[in-house]
Amino acid sequence: MSRSEKGPNLTVKLSGVELKNPIMPASGTFGSGKEFEEYLNLNRLGMVVTKGVADVPWKGNATPRVAETYGGMLNSVGLQNPGSDHFIREDIPFLESYDTKTMVNIAGRSIEEYVGVVTALQHQPVDFLELNISCPNIKEGGVAFGTDVDMAYQVTKKVKEAAKQPLIVKLSPNVTDIVAVAKACEAAGADGISLINTLLGMKMDIKTRSPLLANTFGGLSGPAIKPVALRMVYQVAREINIPIIGIGGISTWEDALEFILAGATAVQVGTANFRNPRAMMEIIEGLENYLKEENIDGIEELIGAGHK
């Protein structure tokens, strides 16, 4: 059967693993998928990416944890999660009931904590690990690893040694030189890079004349940040040889296509899920139509095609 008979081919290969399509949720915006079961068929997604999982339960920050901004939003959840034991007990069986790849987002405050989670997941039916060294909402660790080239190298190396699954490192955009951080992770053995986590931002409540978020600062996400995310994907794609997962403000299939043209092998959809729980379905269908109309055999042809 030729490709054209099969319909538009959205499959992509990410670090050796074939995905049905390049569309997946961004960590922390989709839980482990349970809450979206009513809205979309998880089997249609390229992958499910879970919320951040730490070695022990984290309670996260005080509320308010969210503020709307122009074309975006701030969150300061602070990686609230019930810990890896609970995750393995509750979420993995749920995800196993679907025919979809899974990527577990790993949270930690120290190399030991990251390694702890990864070790706990060694023999679990998980396809990818996504190392979050970029959460702006926790004081220790997290973003500190993602904004320092040496620390990014160290943590990636150590975690990679413990990891049984391909390791994607998720980077912070709050840096002067994103290419340097990405190269350090590649050198340390990362199997892929995801770009970007949230930009650090804040909002003042003019009624109370104080910061609106209990945590003062929060992570900016949504369409507002798309141009920054796209630029970083484009810059990094020129300099590394491992695949990139593009993230940041993707809400439509056109947005997803922009990231793919800039060099992303796959993309994650975050904030858009809050505005429309079916957003990812519409993106997948939009890309299918695009390939059909433009007579393109497979979406892989377009990865990085926008470089000049």
């Binding site: 839980g31 009513e38 919320k51 944890r65 969210v66 074309g71 969150n75 809050f274 429309n276 079916r278």
Partner: protein, 263 residues
């Protein structure tokens, strides 16, 4: 089922009740799932405002297929809603969340006293509750200056008492003043309103060991339980450390009064 999605509602009414509070009636695809205390996510048309606005369902008319919302114009989103015209369409998602439980009503007699206590824009969701509940319903409502929905409550409750901070309507004071002044011995308390009020109600109810259901409010993003921005603290065990976060949007907005921890 994986086909729930954003629906289009037809605006059948959108009028000011007071200078700041509006009533919107939506013709919707289906009302069959809506229970008292649930909310819907209403979407802004202006794309610069990404997040849906959670608004409680104040009344459900199953026959007409309509939902009634009562909302205060607070910021940019509700300001946009207030400008919408009759017969315009608006996107919504829902009903969402866990509403009030009516259970005890089935078990207990009509003569059991039930207290329904509302404050400000916490009053609207209590109306559908009051309609569906059995029992000797007494309703205490507190407002800043102008009351809303008092006549509607009178149709379905034994007694409706009003307090306003300014004294413009009812007694000058708060629902707590009404509560102290009346001689109530309820078997259950339902309440929705500002945090301070809920906290005072909780204290009052605790003293009398009365079962309570409190409807909370928190800033939200997804409204469906996925993003964890809308948490509230709950007591999960006997020790102080046994607290946990629950999601107002999915585990609530209605919680057992015993478990809510106010901060």
């Amino acid at each position: 089922m994986d086909n729930k999605s954003i629906e289009k509602a037809l605006i059948l009414k959108n009028e000011a009740l007071t200078p700041e509070i509006y009533e919107m009636v939506l013709g919707v695809k289906s009302t069959s799932e809506a229970t008292p205390g649930q909310f819907i996510n209403l979407y802004c048309k202006d794309g610069s405002r990404l997040l849906p606005r959670p608004l409680s369902i104040s009344e459900v008319d199953q026959k007409a297929g309509t939902l009634r919302l009562i909302y205060k114009v607070l910021g940019s989103g509700t300001r946009e809603f207030a400008k919408l015209q009759k017969y315009e369409e608006i996107d919504y998602l829902g009903p969402l969340g866990k509403g009030f439980s009516l259970e005890f009503a089935d078990e207990k007699s009509e003569e059991q006293e039930i207290l329904i206590i509302g404050g400000g824009v916490g009053v609207p969701p209590l109306l559908e509750l009051a309609k569906q509940l059995q029992g000797k319903k007494r309703v205490l409502l507190g407002f800043e200056k102008e009351s809303i929905l008092v006549e509607d409550f009178k149709k379905v409750a034994r007694e409706v008492a009003v307090a306003t901070t300014t004294g413009d309507e009812g007694i000058k004071g708060t629902v707590m003043d009404l509560l102290e002044q009346g001689e109530y011995a309820p078997v259950k308390i339902y309440s929705c309103g500002p945090k301070g009020m809920l906290q005072a109600v909780q204290a009052w109810g605790r003293e009398g060991n009365i079962p309570m259901e409190l409807s909370l409010e928190e800033r939200m993003a997804c409204g469906i339980g996925a993003c964890l921005v809308c948490t509230c603290k709950t007591q999960e065990g006997p020790h102080e450390e046994d607290w946990n976060y629950k999601r107002v949007c999915k585990d609530g907005p209605v919680f057992k009064g015993e478990e809510v921890v106010f901060e």
